[in-house]
């Protein structure tokens, strides 16, 4: 069956099927007053500000993207009109980690 287009579960550890050597991972946690926020929306924007992908944070407040080498912006949206941008540089073989406090 064709793999769909929905995001996989947003867990803290990288899925076992993923070979990090081939991926430029951007991963982060969304927190409010130190506690993880689930059901926040993390949007990945490319260096021109163009939308690239979006995931919903899991129970641990985690989001993860499989990007390409370069500069990216992660925009976090949450209830109450929250919108927070963070910039990050991704590199193949590495996990670029972010902490987003809202």
């Amino acid at each position: 069956m064709t793999q769909g287009c929905a995001a996989p579960a947003q867990t803290a550890s990288l899925p076992a099927t993923v070979d990090l050597a081939n991926e430029a991972v951007i991963q982060g946690t969304v927190t409010r007053a130190g506690a993880p926020v689930s059901s926040a929306y993390a949007r990945l924007l490319d260096s021109t500000g163009e939308f690239t992908a979006e995931v919903v944070t899991g129970d641990e407040g985690v989001f993860r993207f499989f990007a390409a080498d370069g500069d990216w912006t992660v925009r976090v949206l949450a209830a109450g009109g929250v919108s927070v941008d963070s910039t990050v540089t991704a590199k193949t073989g590495e996990v670029a980690a972010l902490e987003v406090a809202i």
Binding site: A6, D19, E50, F66, L77
Partner: protein, 279 residues
């Protein structure tokens, strides 16, 4: 056709939750979101296990669609309101699918699940039980579905709109960036396709942009709105979103969704592929 014929907002849904002959349907590939909470009264359709053929790469056939809708308790006369996660990708796909099988009374909830959640509207865990129906589908309306040979023939003649992200268009990525990148097919795009990501048609909260904004986005990107158009993405759901914007919101007469999309085209032997930035 006007916007209110095909789209409803969250407020309208909230005040019509108990209306007769109205069925809310949440459509997702990952249905765990529904299981944790959904709009009151909504039934779920699982994009992967219920809308796709389990063996061949295709949709469930007409009989399969009839069985599915009968089982879900959806009648031919019901007004179906579709919504879902991923900015309504799968809901837009289901909308196209309902139209394909001839269900006319179907609308999308603008902004889908995201807008509903960002507005902090009520979600419940109770699963409704609806009595089964005897749903009758029509034959597929192939005026809205494109197959691979039509896409090859459309090069340089029709509008081809590639709605994937710019990096998928150029060949830098093979899948949206929330998915691992290892795939069998070749990277790139169909020659003469315009790169107009589906997201251009949506606001941050997942609602559709206004008709004026949409018309400007597609015209500025070089789409001749008087010509026939085929939209594609990777597997056909993001392009359903753009198909909805062009045919249902802007009312263009001949717009098809190529559901084979890049996972089919990029695997074909001998077809032309172009790499690199949009020209």
């Amino acid at each position: 056709m006007s916007r209110s014929d095909v789209l409803v907002d969250a407020e309208w849904v909230e005040s019509n939750l108990d209306a007769p002959a109205l069925v809310l349907v949440e459509v997702d590939e990952d249905v765990s979101a529904y299981d944790k909470g959904h709009i009151r009264g909504a039934v779920k359709i699982d994009w992967k296990t219920e809308l796709q053929d389990p063996v061949r790469r295709d949709f469930v056939d007409k009989t399969g669609f009839e069985e599915l809708l009968s089982r879900k308790g959806i009648a031919n006369d019901d007004l179906v309101i579709l919504y879902g996660g991923n900015n309504n990708w799968f809901a837009a796909y289901a909308y196209w699918y309902f139209k394909l099988y001839g269900h006319d009374k179907v609308k999308l909830l603008d902004g889908g699940r995201k807008k509903w959640e960002l507005d902090s509207r009520e979600l419940v865990e109770d699963v409704p039980s609806r009595p089964a129906t005897q749903y009758k589908a029509k034959e597929q309306d192939l005026t809205i579905r494109a197959f691979r040979d039509e896409v090859v023939d459309a090069i340089s003649t029709k509008n081809l709109i590639d709605v994937r992200s710019p990096d998928e268009f150029s060949g830098k990525l093979l899948a949206p960036a929330h998915l691992p990148q290892e795939q069998a097919q070749r990277a790139g795009h169909v020659p003469t396709a315009r790169s107009i990501p589906w997201s251009k048609a949506a606001n941050d909260d997942g609602t559709f942009k206004s008709d004026e904004e949409l018309r400007k986005i597609y015209s500025d990107a070089g789409v001749d709105l008087s010509k026939s158009t085929i939209a594609y993405c990777r597997i056909g759901e993001r392009s359903s979103h753009t198909w909805f914007a062009l045919r249902e919101l802007l009312g263009l007469p001949d717009v098809k969704n190529y559901d084979g999309s890049w996972t089919e085209y990029g695997s074909l032997v001998g077809v032309p592929i172009e790499l690199g930035e949009p020209k």
